[in-house]
């Protein structure tokens, strides 16, 4: 009952899965973005300019996690192939660069179009199925995309390919500077956050949320879920493709390893542990995941084992992720 203190009536959590939603989530999201915004000067002050590079990576994964949250947290579709879109975006950069097109905007456009098309086709087939079938078929489509890029020997096959230089913006090498690039990525994250918050509150988002909570009820008032879920899948795919463009520029390297199923699994971990269906949680989850990865890998070579154990324990002993843990600790939920 006390969870009403955390949730507004308009965007309330289902009782099974406590979420930080509504105003609390908005404030949380703004605080996170503000912290990101002051990070570069803070990093310089601390004499650790490399922090900006790490933070860029976090920001980019936050965009990817946000996009997955639309599918997973709002669309109730457990997609296990989301990393494929990161790959589409990244390969859009190298493929266009090889064709002499270095412009970031054109590359982004191609990435969005390619990802959206792949999402449209595979989503339409996947959404014919339900439950574990959906999980497995999205996983398999992700693998299909992975093997497609592995087979592209012109772009390095398995080994991938190094970028000659980062993409240009307005004909100039603007994003060669790490700090500028960081702020561009952050701007994309902020825009994605605002856009998705708008979308989930819209008519469309309401249908999506309603379908997530009670599919049969929505059908009984006249909504056929397929079109709405597919649209969400396409929007999310396109946004994640954009994240892939940024990721390629951040690492200045592209390979099929961007789109392994393990990567898809990591994205799910970010979204769920941060708190699904809140958007802010996806950003927080990406931060938590990558910071933890950074810290653990500094401590031990075998950090995967610790990381895996943390995931297992969190799932077994907390429900609803970190956000659920928080609302139970501080919201007094039994």
């Amino acid at each position: 009952m006390s969870e009403t203190t955390l949730t507004s009536a308009a965007d309330a959590a289902s009782p099974a899965r406590p979420r930080l939603a509504g105003r609390g989530a908005l404030i949380g999201g703004i605080v996170l973005l503000a912290l990101f915004a002051v990070l570069p000067p803070a990093a310089t002050a601390m004499g650790d300019p490399f922090l900006v590079v790490t933070a860029t990576r976090i920001v980019i994964f936050a965009i990817a996690a946000l996009s997955l949250d639309l599918v997973l947290g709002y669309g109730a579709m457990v997609s296990f192939g989301h990393a494929a879109f990161l790959g589409f975006g990244a390969y859009a950069v190298v493929i266009l660069a090889a064709a002499g097109i270095d412009d970031l905007l054109l590359q982004s456009l191609a990435a969005i179009a390619g990802s959206a098309l792949f999402a449209l086709v595979t989503g339409a087939i996947s959404l014919r199925t339900k439950g574990v079938y959906f999980i497995m078929i999205t996983l398999a489509f992700g693998q299909m995309a992975y093997f497609f890029f592995v087979s592209l020997s012109a772009f390095g096959g398995d080994d991938g390919r190094t970028l000659q230089h980062r993409s240009t913006l307005f004909g100039a090498p603007l994003i060669e500077n790490d700090v500028t690039f960081y702020y561009i990525a952050l701007a994309v994250l902020a825009a994605a956050f605002v856009l998705l918050r708008t979308v989930v509150a819209s008519r469309f988002g309401r249908v999506l949320r309603g379908t997530r909570d009670n599919r049969v009820r929505m059908q009984a008032i006249g909504f056929a879920p397929f079109g709405y879920q597919l649209t969400a899948y396409v929007i999310a795919g396109a946004l994640c493709g954009l994240a892939g463009v940024l990721l390629a520029n951040q690492t200045e390297f592209v390979s099929p390893a961007f789109m392994t199923w393990q990567r898809s699994g990591e994205l799910i971990v970010m979204v769920v542990l941060g708190g699904m269906g809140t958007l802010t949680g996806a950003i927080a989850g990406a931060v938590g995941f990558l910071v933890l990865e950074e810290v653990l890998s500094g401590l031990t070579e075998h950090w995967h084992i610790v990381f895996g154990a943390i995931i297992v324990l969190l799932v077994l002993y907390t429900r609803g992720g970190i956000a659920g843990l928080f609302s139970r600790l501080f919201g007094g939920r039994a």
Partner: protein, 248 residues
């Protein structure tokens, strides 16, 4: 005379169990038609078939002059045939108002709108408030639906069905699980709805049925064994033997 809802030889089996065993029935516009029958008679299954959430094995259903036998649930709702659920089915996490506004939204323009907040669409909210007022839930509009009392949730079910703009309501045991007072409110509500909607009412509560219904059908083991006005059905010896006798 042509009925609003016309059912011909409708059938559904689960394996050897004939749950709906050749039902034919006409419900004229404006009628409140009650279906009674013992537990497991197949009443809910019948409603599932009429609403389109369950495919029939054979038979035909016509609604408002059109053959809807092969239409999906969504398509039937759009034609004006709405239902409520025996087991409460609402959007627990939404506000009461948003539950109803969502049903209004389903028939007012495209829902592929992405940029304006749905919660501030005054036209949707106004119509939703009307439906809530009709079921006496207006003062609960801003509560989270999951926190309503059981009786209020039953009222909300009906408000949602109303808000779809339906001509005809299929109500599956709207009194299920309600106490005496809550039941009285709902019975009163259905009496008012009679004047504006054609209703098929599945109900266990005999008192309610005989007070409300224009006609009553008795369903036993998937077959309609009697149809007629309440007094005649009550007097029918086959009905008394098969149903009322063991229930009284």
């Amino acid at each position: 005379m042509s009925a609003l809802l016309s059912i011909r030889d409708l059938r559904k089996s689960y394996g050897a169990l004939k749950v709906t065993d050749g039902i034919s029935l006409d419900v004229p516009a404006g009628e409140l038609h009650a279906i009674i029958g013992p537990n497991g008679a197949g009443k809910t299954t019948f409603i599932h078939q009429l609403s389109g959430s369950l495919k029939s094995d054979s038979g035909a259903v016509h609604f408002d002059g059109a053959d809807i036998t092969r239409l999906s649930m969504v398509a039937r709702v759009k034609r004006g045939l709405a239902r409520s659920f025996q087991i409460t089915s609402i959007l627990d996490g939404f506000s009461v108002l948003e539950n109803v506004a969502t049903a209004v939204q389903a028939r007012s323009g495209s829902s592929f709108r992405f940029l304006t907040p749905a919660a501030s669409e005054t036209a949707l909210n106004a119509e939703a408030m009307e439906a809530l007022a009709r079921v006496n839930l207006a003062d609960r509009a801003h509560r989270q639906a999951g926190t309503l009392s059981h009786g209020e949730k039953r009222q909300l079910e009906i408000a949602i069905a109303l808000a779809t703009g339906a001509k005809m309501l299929l109500l599956d045991e709207p009194l299920a699980g309600t106490g005496h007072e809550e039941g009285a409110i709902l019975i009163d509500l259905m009496r008012q709805l009679k004047s504006t909607h054609t209703i098929m009412l599945i109900e266990h509560d005999m008192e309610a049925v005989f007070a409300l219904a224009d006609r009553v059908s008795v369903l036993v083991y998937g077959k309609l064994i009697a149809t007629g006005d309440p007094a005649a059905v009550r007097a029918d010896p086959a009905v008394r033997a098969a149903y009322l006798g063991e229930d009284a």
